[in-house]
């Protein structure tokens, strides 16, 4: 049991914190939002230069062999700076599928581009009626010759507007809610039959609704077993949840810090409003919520390496519940303690609140995961 960062991990944290301090203050972020695609190629290039885009990949694949703790460090830092670039979609999720189940050829085709920053990915999973159930898949992949034909609609695909490659879940067998018969496919974004409707999301990221109409891909498009991919999808989405927990911790840290600074300086009735006990206690409760979230983010990071998939998923679900509850409290109270200024687009706090809010509803909200933990027989 050791909660301290190793020397390498400490250096990693310093390096990403340093990079973001230099190139990601709130004013710079506003400029990046206006760039093509809604994020900065320059910043993405810097992340690549520092090796952060290759962090979780094996050294044999050109990466740095980083584990869960390394990803946690990066995601926390990205959260703290409210980063727009598609790290989650590309490195954590896209990279996750390739790391866990990609063939040598698939890795050779995609990993170098991820690592050098020339290529981004997007995960096309959500469907109109699937909500948070990963096995609820209506999009189909039908065998044609050696390859597959994909038909269906995917929604709110993060980075779907910009990604060169889409990772698509599609049913190869069975009915909509069957747990078997689901495959995972690599689809070039410019393949014939792919149409996109792009839009910004509430938190300033970019996403797309994507329709697949008779999209033909080769046999080599399937990642892992095309008839039994649910365990792989759950594995990678669990990693995405863990990453989101860490991002939320970073966001909460910065929200709390910003709010405490604000109530120390904002004066009413001739004194700083932070001198009022009701506000002090609220801020203390925010601290408690943020610390509980940090603990569960660490727990989730640890659980990610559990060998038993059921225990892993249960622990990560529990973490997502705690993070969901904490982020709602910290987010809402950050706005409340800022008062009117917290309601404005101009102040940075609202943007943190919005990103936190969107994280709660990503890959299962608090209610969804709480039910999962309850149905799994609890956590003690």
């Amino acid at each position: 049991m050791d909660f301290d960062l190793s020397e390498e991990q400490r250096l990693l944290k310093e390096s990403i914190d340093g990079l973001l301090t230099d190139s990601y203050d709130f004013e710079q972020r506003k400029k990046y939002m206006k760039e093509k695609g809604g994020w900065s190629q320059v910043v993405w290039g810097k992340l690549a230069e520092q090796g952060l885009l290759g962090l979780p990949f094996a050294e044999a694949d050109g990466g740095f062999g980083g584990g869960g703790v390394e990803t946690m460090i990066v995601m926390e830092a990205l959260g703290k700076a409210l980063v727009l670039e598609p790290y989650l979609a590309t490195v954590v999720i896209g990279g996750g599928f390739l790391r866990h189940a990609g063939s040598d050829a698939q890795k050779a085709a995609h990993v170098p581009g991820i690592i050098d920053g020339s290529k981004t990915l997007a995960f096309a999973q959500l469907e109109k009626n699937s909500r948070y159930d990963l096995f609820d898949v209506s999009t189909t992949a039908k065998k044609k010759g050696d390859g597959w034909v994909i038909d269906g609609e995917k929604f709110v695909v993060l980075n779907g507007e910009n990604a060169e490659t889409l990772i698509v879940t599609a049913r190869t067998k069975g009915d909509r809610r069957d747990k078997s018969g689901i495959g995972v496919f690599l689809v070039p974004a410019n393949a014939k039959g792919v149409t996109k409707k792009s839009y910004p999301t509430q938190d300033g990221l970019h996403a797309a609704d994507i329709t697949f109409t008779g999209v033909e891909v080769g046999a080599d498009a399937a990642i892992g077993n095309p008839e039994d991919g649910l365990a792989l999808i759950e594995r990678v989405v669990d990693e995405a949840r863990v990453a989101l927990c860490a991002e939320a911790v970073g966001l909460m840290d910065e929200s709390l810090k910003t709010t405490v600074e604000y109530i120390k300086t904002r004066k009413q009735f001739g004194v700083a409003i932070g001198s009022f006990q009701s506000l002090q206690h609220r801020a203390s409760d925010m601290f408690v919520a943020a610390e509980q979230a940090r603990s569960m983010s660490m727990f989730a990071t640890m659980a990610n390496d559990f060998e038993n998939a059921r225990e892993r998923s249960n622990a990560i679900a529990a973490a997502k519940v705690q993070i969901g509850k904490s982020l709602k409290f910290v987010g809402q109270q950050s706005i409340q303690l800022h008062g009117g200024i917290g309601m404005t687009m101009e102040a940075k706090i609202g943007h943190y609140f919005k990103r936190l809010t969107m994280i709660e509803n990503s890959f299962g909200d608090t209610e969804y995961h709480q039910r999962r933990v309850a149905d799994a027989g609890g956590l003690i």
């Binding site: 909660f3 405490v260 603990s295 309850a374």
Partner: protein, 396 residues
Amino acid sequence: MDLAFTKEEQAFREEVRSFFRDNVPPDTRRKLVEGRHLSKDEMVTWWRILNKKGWGVSHWPKQYGGTGWTSVQHYIFNEELQSYPAPQPLAFGVSMVGPVIYTFGNEEQKKKYLPRIANVDDWWCQGFSEPGSGSDLASLKTKAERKGDKWIINGQKTWTTLAQHADMIFCLCRTDPSAKKQMGISFIVFSMKSKGVTVRPIQTIDGGHEVNEVFFDDVEVPVENLIGEENKGWDYAKFLLGNERTGIARVGVSKERLRRIRDLAGKVESGGKPIIQDSAFREKLAACEIELKALELTQLRVVADEGKHGKGKPNPASSVLKIKGSEIQQTTTELLMEVIGPFAAPYDVHGDDGSNEAMDWTAQIAPSYFNNRKVSIYGGSNEIQRNIIAKAVLGL
């Protein structure tokens, strides 16, 4: 960062667990599970078993009988102790006055008191709170006046836990009335059998007798019973309250109670089926378990940090422990109430010693719920904890 327990730590957990299995008197365990109070004999018997094993004052320095365990080992020991469950060592002796004596006392005091604390030859109680000095402890008025080779003590303490069993008291007394609040207080120990000491029971809302009022009427105490320096008592009190920060979360206690809730909820029916099959109840239970897991991790972070930086420099996260720990303990007692529903009502007029076989064990569930309201009040109320976070952590 490595969040898993090592093989050695896991083996240690096994060792501790099997010792409890083999040595905690079954009746003692049963009473704790059912939320009953233990008799003085039952507690002392167990503590002496623990002391004989060498674990009675585990966190003391080795030279005074401690174990030299790592902070993680202490954590494991406490968790196993609480969740077995077995009675925790008497905090007033082992965790409070003991460390003050071995840190600030003279050699004679160490020789005289420490072995007796370890073996519970003396039962200690704590003379801090007064009727007018609760959260504002430094406003205390109990006086000790120096007359020749004696202190003459007059005043009143309250909320004195288990003073009815006590042989000794450690007492904050005002020794310099002209000094500012915190500056004129001394830390004096004396026998509860001294002439002029009166103990009066306070019955709490659960019907139990845990706490007392203690009156001092010209109590004569030898001058050598002053611990440390005169008028430095406030420093020792702060030191004392700063110790054992991590024990206050009582994670093991809540774990044990959650297991009991799950067990009962599988037996008690609602709507023609066990309550555990009700999804709303299950989710509530899961919510509490998740909060407890987060608290456990927070506690481990604090514990690991203590190991790294030594005592006296608490991790900011440690202030979370008291607030969340007490809230979760209270939630578990609420869930127990919810499970037994209308059977919470019967009140056992024979008290909670278990002598009345006719009374079902459920009789202790409501009292335990009532009793646990105290946990967000004692040890610095949760409101005081929030003041501490605001000031010490957030700089407000």
